[in-house]
């Protein structure tokens, strides 16, 4: 028993414990304020769905030792393109167009990083700005409403057996992401590339392909997040996703993924994302002023990051 426990690295579970502690705290403090109602808990789950989906993509990017700053702009573009296509055509084509846009952008980012050997930070910083401009230009700053209800229900507003469709998307993306990241040869290659690229190359891993692939995964999840926002809001707007980048990065890091590569966890990112959503929700229900909400949220995230990422004996 003791030896079995000795094999567990407690720092890996700090975010889970932190999540439970904060959940318990809100449950007690806000027991009369609707926090524990199923409606509210489902609210948290569906509100965090787009961020969780993007966080899954970002875990791959971080694990490979790269970063993708362009995800927020991809959200807006894919949502706007899907909404625009839906004005004329059936929704499946719009979904293909939206996701295709994400894949295309991912290929562009990935090719510049993997084959032109440019740093991902600078490449995606540039494409972030470029794509934000395109998103503004695309519909001349106008919002595009979506009236195809099947799309809106599937991607955002619908429910099945009382469970919001966004929860199903979250479960599916986290499940697939976790499996690929942990259980497949590709996942192992991503880890190896981020851990030590030279060693990975020496043992025959094609690190260029890995780098290209993680940036395609990240942009594709961002495009999916764009579709989820569009379905949820029954429309798209050029500002969608604009403020999500830092939330996604925070969720991924709080979840235990390292910025330097080699170490990452998809389920941790899910917990990180839910933690962010729960904090937003609980602090509003506490009746705090906006300034107080920001301060408390900042302090809690700081504590979570410190506990998760503290490196002993450094």
């Amino acid at each position: 028993m003791t030896s079995a426990l000795r094999g567990i690295d407690p720092s890996r579970y700090v975010v889970h414990v932190g999540f439970l502690l904060i959940f318990a705290l809100f449950a007690v403090v806000l027991k009369d304020d609707g926090f524990l109602t199923s409606t509210n808990l489902l609210n948290i789950a569906q509100q965090t769905a787009p961020v969780t989906v993007m966080a899954v993509g970002m875990v791959f990017v971080f694990t490979a030792g790269e970063i993708d700053l362009s995800i927020g702009s991809v959200v807006a573009i894919s949502a706007l393109i899907a909404a625009t296509v839906m004005r004329e055509y059936a929704w499946p084509l719009a979904v293909v167009a939206g996701l295709g846009t994400g894949i295309g952008i991912g290929l562009l980012n990935g090719a510049l990083v993997a084959y032109a050997r440019l740093p991902s930070f600078l490449v995606t910083l540039a494409t972030m700005g470029l794509l934000a401009g395109v998103a503004r230009w695309l519909t001349n700053l106008q919002s595009v409403p979506i009236t195809q209800n099947l799309f809106n229900n599937l991607f955002g507003a619908g429910r099945l057996a009382g469970i919001p469709s966004l929860v199903f998307w979250t479960v599916a993306v986290v499940g697939i992401g976790h499996f690929i990241h942990r259980e497949t040869r590709f996942g192992a290659h991503v880890h190896a590339t981020g851990d030590n690229a030279r060693a990975a190359r020496a043992i025959g891993i094609r690190i260029e392909q890995v780098r290209l692939a993680v940036l395609v995964i990240s942009a594709t999840t961002a495009a999916l997040a764009g579709l989820l926002y569009a379905g949820r809001l029954h429309g798209a707007r050029y500002t969608l996703g604009e403020t999500d980048l830092l939330t996604v990065i925070a969720a991924v890091i709080v979840g235990g993924t390292h910025l330097n590569g080699g170490i990452g966890t998809v389920t941790g990112a899910l917990i990180g994302s839910l933690l962010m959503g729960m904090l937003n929700n609980g602090l509003i229900l506490m009746g705090l002023s906006v300034s107080e909400q920001m301060m408390v949220r900042g302090l809690i995230i700081l504590a979570a990051v410190a506990l998760t990422l503290r490196e002993p004996n450094r």
Binding site: S143, Y229, R232, A236, R237, T243, N280, I284, L285, G287
Partner: protein
């Protein structure tokens, strides 16, 4: 993330509103052509107040951002609610993000507020965001913007807004007064689809063109990021060194424009802008470049919103479109204007320099 400031306050991508609303008529009119009712026309009797106090009502404030403007509106609303025995149970800031605003609506509904005061970010996407609030029976009072297909008296109690056209017009009149009705002017406008800034900017331009024949707009420059105002203004001054006046869409970029003027050693070009800010007001009272600032009665907007919310709770019919007046602030009236707009004293630096 760049749009963190107050002026963008009213914020909205007004696909519908931009074409139907205000400016063209030369006055501020409602989204469906409603005539504006002044905020001062709202009133509650003692019996109304007593009834409200018995109701143990609650309210939530769902703002689009955090700023001086929002703080003053919040203060006006909170003070009024307090007087009526209505408790404010939640306050949110959507950071100009329509998706986050939807989340905020869902979250505060867990507390079942009787009234929600909010600035919907965008007519298209906000409609979906606020629908759950209407379904739950919460009374909705909107600031500046109307979600698509929402009807006054049915989906919401009233829209309360600045007198946007007047703000732009008064800025034009103030600049004309400072320049003796003659001169070359640059127009620095907010280059985004935001209802409030768009209306104000266009009202300035229209007024110059229609009512001040001696003045010409010789340069038009859009701005999206206030932090870039200084470099934009520097380039503008390089191309048009003989500018007599500059209109700047709101106070924060105006601070950058002032920096550019100072760097160029220009003390003659006059500046007008909208919304109060300490550095801009200080320049004005020290006889710098700033000729006038046009502000709104932000605190009064909050009072009007809370009062309209009370109308909704009492089942009293509220006017559908309520407007708070615009104020032209000059060196002469800065102390009183600060009180009227933000319901607090002007900063000490401004009062001392006056």
């Amino acid at each position: 993330m760049l749009l963190t400031r107050r002026t963008i306050a009213g914020l909205l991508l007004a696909t519908t509103l931009l074409t139907t609303l205000p400016a063209m008529a030369g006055e501020t009119i409602g989204p469906n052509g409603e005539k504006a009712t002044p905020a001062s026309a709202l009133s509650l009797t003692d019996a109304d107040k007593a009834k409200l106090k018995e109701g143990s009502h609650t309210a939530a404030l769902l703002w689009h951002t955090s700023s001086d403007f929002v703080t003053a509106v919040t203060a006006g609303a909170t003070d009024t609610f307090k007087e009526l025995g209505i408790e404010v149970v939640a306050t949110t800031d959507a950071g100009f993000d329509a998706a986050r605003q939807k989340s905020d609506v869902e979250t505060v509904l867990a507390k079942q507020p009787s009234v929600i005061l909010a600035l919907p970010l965008d007519p298209v996407t906000s409609a979906e965001a606020f629908r759950p609030a209407i379904a739950s029976g919460t009374k909705l009072v909107l600031l500046s913007n109307q979600p698509k297909d929402f009807a006054a008296g049915q989906d919401y109690v009233a829209i309360v807004t600045d007198d946007l056209f007047q703000m732009g017009k008064q800025a034009a009149d103030a600049l004309a007064a400072a320049l003796g009705g003659q001169g070359k002017v640059a127009w620095i406008f907010h280059d985004a689809a935001y209802y409030v800034t768009n209306q104000r900017d266009n009202a300035f331009k229209e007024t110059i063109q229609a009512q001040h024949p001696g003045m010409t707009i010789v340069a038009e420059q859009g701005i999206t990021d206030p932090a870039r105002a200084e470099e934009i203004a520097s380039a503008l001054l390089l191309q048009h060194p003989n500018l007599d006046g500059i209109y700047v869409t709101w106070a924060e970029p105006a601070e950058g424009v002032l920096s550019a003027l100072r760097a160029a050693g220009n003390s003659t070009t006059k500046v007008v802008t909208l919304d109060l800010s300490e550095p801009v007001a200080l320049d004005m009272v020290q006889d710098g470049n700033v000729a006038a600032i046009v502000a709104d009665e932000a605190y009064g907007l909050g009072v009007a919103m809370a009062t309209a919310g009370a109308y909704g709770l009492l089942g009293k019919e509220a006017p559908p479109f309520i407007v708070a007046p615009a104020l032209t602030v000059t060196k002469a009236n800065v102390a009183e204007a600060w009180q009227a707009s933000l319901h607090r004293d002007a900063p000490a630096s401004v009062l001392e320099a006056q």
